[in-house]
């Protein structure tokens, strides 16, 4: 076990550190013998997959931890061969259909059918059904989601689907209504502090509370990021000191720099510069939604109340449009331009007011 994140991941529902009532609910659900399809959603780094694994362990016992990697290949209607690797135990299979890109429908259809068509070998000891875990379900195409909705009903007796997604807004209502939604919210500050402290204790490290606080602040309530930051701090300088620097992810530093550049100057030339920076971010496969959010957060820091509202509205507006489109650069750029216009207007108004004020006095 390498990273702390993986090493100290809770194994069972009872071991979970936070959201304990939810864990209790899940436990009850499992103990009742059957459970519906699940739609687990929440921000990244909140512990969705951890909870899914715990749940599976609760259902099938330690056997689910005997994981193996399977490679499946599918033929698309256009006779193109696509390969997908899945993580599977004897009882469940975890697959990310979006690996197949636009052919995810084929994956859904084939995979779930094959799973549903095979019975459990030892059905007396085990449950009658197997579980399919679909990660990144929000990236499923509409076609795939429509393919899924019927399959979910048809093979209900043989398999259950657990979907793991950041946001349910991209799931079609038909799917949402077929699933029991489970929201995993990001841990709050105390929860995170306790987890960090527990982990450090397990590792035999002394974590200064000030550092923990800063790590939590910088991690934006993302548990995985917090743990990675903590581990990085430990590697970089061992006896941890309270005033140690905590590195942001590099792309975040880059976005912050970009935001500064936007604030510095508002001109078409600068916009061109910003564009190339946005391209660079996108080229690193940073999700555009994340860029949007980070950028808006950074920009808002430099605005006052009325402008903040407008900026956030604009960001939300463009991010929504982004979901409808396919070329994120257009939306990011349009947002930046919009912000530049607003900011420039704001500054000019401020100067004018100031001038007026001067004029009145003299």
């Amino acid at each position: 076990m390498a990273l702390w994140v993986d090493k100290h991941r809770p194994k069972s529902l009872s071991q979970l550190d936070y959201h304990k009532p939810l864990a209790q609910h899940l436990k009850k659900l499992v103990n009742s013998g059957d459970f519906p399809h699940l739609l687990v959603y929440g921000p990244s780094g909140a512990g969705k997959k951890t909870r899914i694994m715990c749940l599976l362990r609760e259902i099938y016992g330690a056997g689910v931890e005997k994981l193996r990697i399977e490679h499946h290949s599918f033929n698309t209607p256009s006779n193109k061969k696509i390969e997908i690797s899945t993580i599977a135990s004897n009882y469940h299979i975890m697959v990310n259909p979006s690996d197949a890109g636009i052919y995810d429908r084929v994956v859904i259809q084939d995979l779930i059918k094959t799973i549903a068509q095979t019975n459990q070998l030892d059905s007396e000891k085990m449950r009658e059904f197997k579980v399919v875990v679909l990660t990144d379900a929000d990236r499923l195409t509409k076609d795939a989601q429509h393919a899924l909705r019927r399959t979910m009903e048809k093979y209900m007796s043989k398999c259950r689907v657990i979907m793991c997604t950041n946001s349910i807004s991209k799931m079609i209502p038909a799917i949402r209504s077929r699933c029991l939604g489970i929201r995993i919210s990001a841990p709050n500050q105390e929860e995170m502090t306790s987890v960090l402290n527990l982990t450090c204790r397990k590792e035999g490290i002394n974590l200064p509370p000030e550092l923990a606080e800063r790590i939590i602040a910088q991690s934006e309530r993302n548990m995985r990021r917090a743990l990675l930051m903590c581990e990085t701090c430990k590697v970089q300088q061992y006896p941890l000191s309270p005033d140690q620097t905590v590195d942001d992810p590099d792309w975040m530093t880059f976005v912050k720099q970009t935001a500064m550049k936007i604030i510095e100057e508002q001109s078409p030339k600068r916009l061109l510069d910003i564009r190339s920076r946005l391209y660079e971010l996108l080229a690193h496969c940073i999700p555009p939604e994340t860029i949007f959010r980070t950028l808006a957060d950074e920009l808002v820091k430099h605005c006052d109340g009325t402008l903040q509202k407008k900026v956030i509205q604009a960001a939300a507006n463009y991010e929504h449009k982004l979901q409808l489109g396919s070329r994120p650069i257009y939306y990011l750029e349009a947002f930046v331009a919009r912000f530049m216009a607003m900011y420039k207007g704001f500054i000019q108004d401020a100067i004018m007011d100031f001038d007026d004020f001067d004029f009145d006095e003299s």
Binding site: I69, V235, W251, P287, S326, R327, Y331, A334
Partner: protein, 887 residues
């Protein structure tokens, strides 16, 4: 003489001229004159006058030289006014063409005009020596070729006359019945019979009547005939003037004026007014000449004529590139050692409607070939193609009555498949040094060279299929026809067709059709059907003549970013603003539709927009325009995902919006949009890397491994985590803590299958590079790069990781694993999923096995030796080691 067609002669002369550019131009000038026929007459008149003078001189000379001057001359001279000789004699009089018929030919050839006179004169010479000789002189001064022929004929006839009986029917040795003339020579006295004059006057226009007429009378008669004829065939002549001769029946029914209504129904003007002669071609003169020149190169092979050497060209004084190119062209030899042209095919390329096909046909006919055409309508698979070439080029058709050699014209060759063109290339290169046939094949059968010219016609010479052909063929690109030239021709046709049209509107039509001959003619014919005069207004309002033309993307972008030029003064502009804007909008819309590839258009606009000089205080215009992109993208996505293509109409407005917002006075510099493609490429690279990491990393690590988490979190921290602080000392000297951190690091690296791999940089320095290269995921311009381990530590780690992978390093995870491990594909053979016993191989195995088994086990384990070659060496550490010391 009998079967000599003056038209052939004409063609030949013309072809000769065609070889020499200056002469040709002079000729073109001459032919291009309004009146073709008149100069012909004028010339012969002058010649006649000159001949009369010469005649007198010659007569004197003869008198002086000849020992006994012929008394016939003076006698006959006196009789010419009143008498006509019987010309029913068999001596070539029957073949003499009727002068009027001959004159009708003169439309096509002014140079042939002396022909009838010559023949008449040849008779004169025999009977009326003085005049005959003079006339003969005249003709020979006019045309050398004819003159020589005539002389021979005349002499033979004289010889025959004195001997044969046949001639004595007309020339009597005894006194004939009726009126006669007595002629005394040295040895003989003969009588010529005189026929009454009146009889002959009635057949005034027939062949043999004008010998006895005075020249002035003949001349006036001829002129009168000519004028009558001219009046008669005025419509036809007007066509001839413009060098357009109706294609159908060009050989015989020249004279009849066609009823325009009639053939309008039956035929297209395009076919109707297709040029039939070389000089009528509308295409560029230079191109015409080049094609004909190339065809003439074949004369040596095809007709066996002697090839003319090139006129030596003076080396130009580097004045222009054109001079130099011409010089170059003249310098390089056209023929190979056996007299074959080097380039055995010609590729005529150019956009449609320039008259390429017509040019090829006419040039081939002109050079004396029988045209065999092959076009896209024929079967053009490779096999069929080869066969067709074989048939048309190597054989002569049985039905080919002219017995002319074939010239193959392959039209629309860009439509033929690549294999077919390969066949053609093979034919072209057969037997030459370009031939790709191997030595063995050559011995078996000697390939026959191509012996006939092949003309290929295509629209785009740069097609991939034509690549090989371009190398072995002369490529000639036909430039667009000049508007003025085309308009002039159109004007003539309009006159003939009685369609009123002014030059300005014709020029406008030419412009509208992009100087496409076919298209403009078709448009004219269509307009003619309306029976209204052609006018500018009407043309403007019409969609006819508009071609669906493809604009290049570059042109499109520059148009989008450029303001249209407005005509008229400011006041006018103000008043027409609305109309102007509407026009601009519709023009832009048609431009957008005409260019196609909307996504590329928008991409280009997106990339070039911010490069423009935008002067704007507040960002409103720019913000608004950037919203257009988001609109475009959203709609585009909607179209694609729901296949609702009706929305496409709205997308067309996107480029228009940019033109209205950002058009500049001067066209800006346009760059090719590449960013989107670059982005996709880079994203693909990153995705591939993520994929690889996912595939190779151990299964426990897989759980939290998605593309997003890897790019946004893991990569940043992993690169920092694999860089702990190590003292730069030997690994043996590490403290416990350091060893522990080293162990942790190694576990981490194997977990994600990271490895330091030695690479040699371009400067020759070897360095260790992380593979897969996580650093590339975290590298942003302007952000401080993550610190990396020093070289020596990387080297040590690389070794340790290797050892760990092999599994013989003995670096087992110290704590017992409560979760069994699943192996990634790279780690060989050791099954972690089983009980941990076999893994810790030495100590645990010893405890429960006997000595022999232990030995055996140890041996088996020992045998698993791995060698690794490290690049580079140093003699300093080299020492001989026994094999056993490795075990």
């Amino acid at each position: 003489m009998d079967d000599y067609d003056p038209r052939d002669f004409y063609d030949e002369v013309e072809a000769q001229f065609a070889d020499e550019m200056e002469a040709m131009e002079a000729m073109g000038h001459f032919q291009g004159k309004e009146d073709v026929e008149t100069p012909g007459y004028m010339v012969s008149d002058e010649m006649l006058k000159r001949a009369m003078e010469e005649e007198a001189m010659l007569a004197k000379n003869k008198e002086n030289q000849a020992p006994n001057p012929d008394p016939i001359e003076s006698q006959l001279q006196s009789l010419t006014d009143s008498l006509r000789l019987d010309r029913t004699a068999p001596v070539n009089t029957a073949d003499t063409p009727d002068p009027t018929i001959e004159f009708s030919f003169m439309k096509s050839s002014s140079l042939s005009s002396p022909a009838p006179l010559q023949i008449r004169n040849s008779f004169d010479k025999k009977s009326v020596g003085n005049q005959g000789a003079a006339s003969h002189k005249r003709t020979s001064s006019g045309e050398g070729l004819f003159g020589e022929d005539l002389e021979i004929v005349g002499e033979q006839d004289l010889g025959k006359r004195s001997k044969t009986d046949r001639e004595s029917e007309k020339v009597y040795t005894r006194v004939p019945d009726g009126d006669f003339i007595r002629i005394n020579t040295d040895t003989q006295r003969v009588y010529l019979k005189v026929k009454p004059y009146i009889e002959k006057v009635t057949v005034d226009n027939t062949s043999n009547s004008f010998l006895a007429q005075p020249f002035q009378y003949l001349k006036s008669q001829v002129m009168r005939d000519y004028r009558e004829k001219k009046a008669e065939v005025e419509a036809a002549i007007s066509r001839i003037r413009s060098h357009v001769v109706p294609a159908a029946g060009s050989g015989d029914s020249k004279g009849d004026p066609r009823n325009p209504e009639e053939f309008q129904k039956s035929e297209l003007w395009v076919d109707d007014y297709m040029p039939t002669k070389y000089v009528d071609l509308l295409s560029d003169d230079g191109v015409n000449r080049s094609v004909l020149h190339w065809l003439k190169l074949w004369d040596g092979v095809v007709f066996g004529t002697k090839m003319r050497d090139k006129a030596p060209v003076e080396k130009p004084k580097w004045q222009s590139q054109e001079d130099w190119l011409r010089y170059q062209r003249f310098q390089e030899p056209d023929y190979d050692e056996r007299g074959f042209p080097f380039k055995k095919a010609i590729l005529v390329a150019g956009p449609p409607g320039l008259g390429k096909t017509t040019l090829a046909h006419i040039a081939a006919k002109h050079a004396g070939y029988n045209v065999v055409e092959m076009n896209a309508s024929d079967d053009r698979s490779a096999a069929q193609f080869g066969e067709a070439i074989e048939n048309s080029v190597r054989m002569t058709g049985v039905l080919n009555k002219d017995n002319k050699p074939n010239c193959l014209i392959i039209d629309e060759i860009d439509g033929a498949g690549a294999p077919a063109i390969q066949v053609l290339v093979k034919v072209l290169t057969a037997g030459t040094k370009f031939s790709k046939i191997s030595e063995g094949d050559k011995k078996k059968k000697k390939e026959r060279r191509l012996r006939r010219p092949i003309i290929c016609i295509c629209n785009d010479p740069w097609g991939i299929a034509l690549r090989d052909l371009r190398k072995v063929a002369t490529v000639i690109t036909v430039p667009p026809t000049q508007s003025a030239r085309l308009a002039t021709r159109l004007k003539t046709i309009c006159t003939v067709e009685q369609l009123t049209a002014d030059m300005a509107s014709l020029l406008f039509l030419c412009e509208k059709t992009d100087n496409d001959i076919r298209s403009s003619l078709n448009t004219l014919q269509f307009l003619k059907a309306n029976k209204e005069p052609l006018s500018m207004v009407k043309l403007k309002g019409m969609d006819v003549g508009m071609k669906d033309k493809q604009q290049s993307l570059f042109k499109f972008w520059s148009v989008i970013f450029t303001q249209p030029k407005t005509k008229g003064n400011a006041l006018q502009r103000l008043t027409d603003t609305q109309r102007h804007d509407q026009k601009r909008l519709s023009e832009l819309m048609s431009l957008v539709g005409g260019t196609g590839e909307l996504d590329k258009q928008v991409d280009g606009i997106h990339e070039n927009l911010l490069l423009l000089k935008i002067r704007e205080a507040n960002f409103n215009k720019l913000t608004e325009s950037l919203d257009w992109f988001t609109f475009y993208d959203s709609v585009d996505r909607a179209i694609r995902s729901t296949t609702s293509f009706e929305l496409y109409t709205y997308l067309m407005y996107v480029p228009v919006a940019f033109n209205l917002q950002f058009a500049q006075v001067h066209p800006p510099k346009i760059t090719i949009p590449a960013k989107q493609r670059e982005l996709r490429q880079k994203q693909q690279e990153v995705e591939d890397m993520v994929d690889m990491i996912k595939r190779e990393s151990l299964v426990q690590a897989r759980l939290g491994l998605s593309c997003q988490s890897l790019t946004t979190e893991l990569s940043s921290y992993l690169t920092r985590l694999i860089c702990p602080i190590f003292r730069p000392v030997n690994i043996q000297l590490y403290s416990e803590k350091e060893k522990q951190s080293k162990e942790d690091l190694l576990t981490l690296m194997t977990c994600y299958d990271l490895q330091f791999v030695q690479h040699r940089s371009t400067e020759g320095l070897s360095q260790y590079v992380l593979e897969p290269d996580l650093y590339s995921l975290t590298r942003f311009s302007g952000v401080q790069e993550v610190k990396q381990l020093p070289y020596s530590v990387k080297q040590m780690l690389a070794r340790e990781v290797d050892l760990k992978r092999i599994g013989a390093g003995g670096v087992e995870p110290s704590k017992p694993q409560n979760v069994p491990k699943e192996e990634s594909t790279k780690v060989p053979k050791i099954d972690f999923t089983k009980e941990p016993t076999p893994v810790n191989f030495l100590s645990k195995v010893v405890s429960n096995k006997d000595a022999f088994a232990r030995k055996k086990e140890a041996y088996v384990q020992k045998l698993r030796t791995f060698y690794k070659f490290n690049e580079g060496f140093s003699n300093a550490v080299r020492k001989p080691v026994k094999m056993s010391s490795f075990f």
